[in-house]
């Protein structure tokens, strides 16, 4: 049952990613299929006992980041986006390389991992994750807030003025 659900959401995620990748006509539709991928990944996080990350995924990725993408796409009016014909060689070579890399990667996977460790009770809930975040990893947390501040200032400056 849970494995069936995982396959379903994995299928949705790959389908959404392919929709984003292959949709060269309509950037809005591409962004919306990426939303499907993000939500499916959020569901998979919940199945992987990462409840907090699943909720954050839906809120931050599907909610904020993709809305920002859609906002910019519509602001720039890119519904019909222009594509320079750069020939077929590069996409074909890239696809072949990715297929070879993927085949090698997937063939290495079976038997590559030790058996899983038993999970403690309450694993992945907000309480225990927050406890770890604010004790052992509090320095990383604070540095993250500085990064966000820097990104906010940078985004405002970039979007405000013209670059010569």
């Amino acid at each position: 049952m849970t494995l069936g659900l995982f396959y379903f959401f994995a299928f949705v995620a790959i389908l959404g990613a392919l929709g984003m990748l292959l949709n060269t006509k309509n950037t809005v539709a591409g962004a919306l299929s990426l939303v499907a991928t993000m939500i499916a990944l959020g569901a998979i996080y919940v199945q992987l006992d990462a409840y907090l990350i699943g909720a954050l995924q839906i809120m931050v990725y599907a909610g904020a980041i993709l809305v920002l993408f859609l906002f910019v796409v519509m602001l720039l009016n890119l519904r019909h986006d222009e594509f320079g014909g750069s020939g077929w060689a590069k996409p074909v070579l890239a696809t072949l390389g990715a297929l070879a890399l993927g085949a090698g990667f997937l063939s290495l996977l079976p038997g590559a991992f030790d058996p899983p460790v038993a999970l403690p009770a309450g694993f992945g809930g907000y309480r225990l994750v927050a406890e770890a975040l604010f004790t052992d990893y509090v320095l990383a947390f604070e540095v993250t807030s500085l990064l966000l501040l820097g990104a906010m200032i940078g985004a405002v400056i970039l979007a405000k003025r013209k670059i010569d």
């Binding site: 849970t2 494995l3 995982f6 994995a10 995620a13 790959i14 990613a17 984003m20 990748l21 060269t24 950037t27 591409g30 962004a31 990426l34 991928t37 990944l41 996080y45 992987l48 990462a50 990350i53 995924q57 931050v60 990725y61 980041i65 920002l68 993408f69 910019v72 720039l76 890119l78 986006d81 222009e82 594509f83 590069k90 996409p91 890239a94 696809t95 990715a98 993927g102 996977l109 991992f113 899983p116 460790v117 038993a118 999970l119 403690p120 694993f123 992945g124 770890a132 975040l133 993250t144 990064l147 966000l148 990104a151 940078g154 985004a155 405002v156 970039l158 979007a159 003025r161 013209k162």
Partner: protein
């Protein structure tokens, strides 16, 4: 419980799709979305390893990756808007000043 090979296989497939997007698309916004896809694939691997070894570090790094992704999108889309103002285009081939 989901076997970890399944999660890592899905993560690898999504990452390769993102790489393909970065290599083949010409639209700067599509390239940024492909980068988001790659970050998500990495997040999936982190969460899967976190469950596999019953260690919170993976989930906390996933939180950091989400924060970095949000910052990256804010700055990246700011750059896209500046580029569009200057070149009236978001095609990466129109912004080849530094390309030799």
């Amino acid at each position: 419980m989901i076997p970890i090979t399944h999660s890592i296989a899905l993560s690898g497939i999504l990452f390769l799709l993102g790489v393909l997007g970065v290599l083949t698309r010409r639209n700067l916004i599509a390239i940024l979305m492909s980068i988001e896809l790659m970050l998500n694939a990495v997040n999936l691997a982190l969460v899967a390893f976190s469950q596999h070894w019953a260690d919170y570090a993976g989930q906390l790094f996933a939180v950091m990756v989400i924060v970095v992704a949000a910052a990256e999108v804010a700055v990246g889309l700011g750059i896209v808007i500046s580029l569009f103002r200057n070149r009236e285009s978001v095609n990466v081939e129109d912004a080849s000043l530094l390309k030799w």
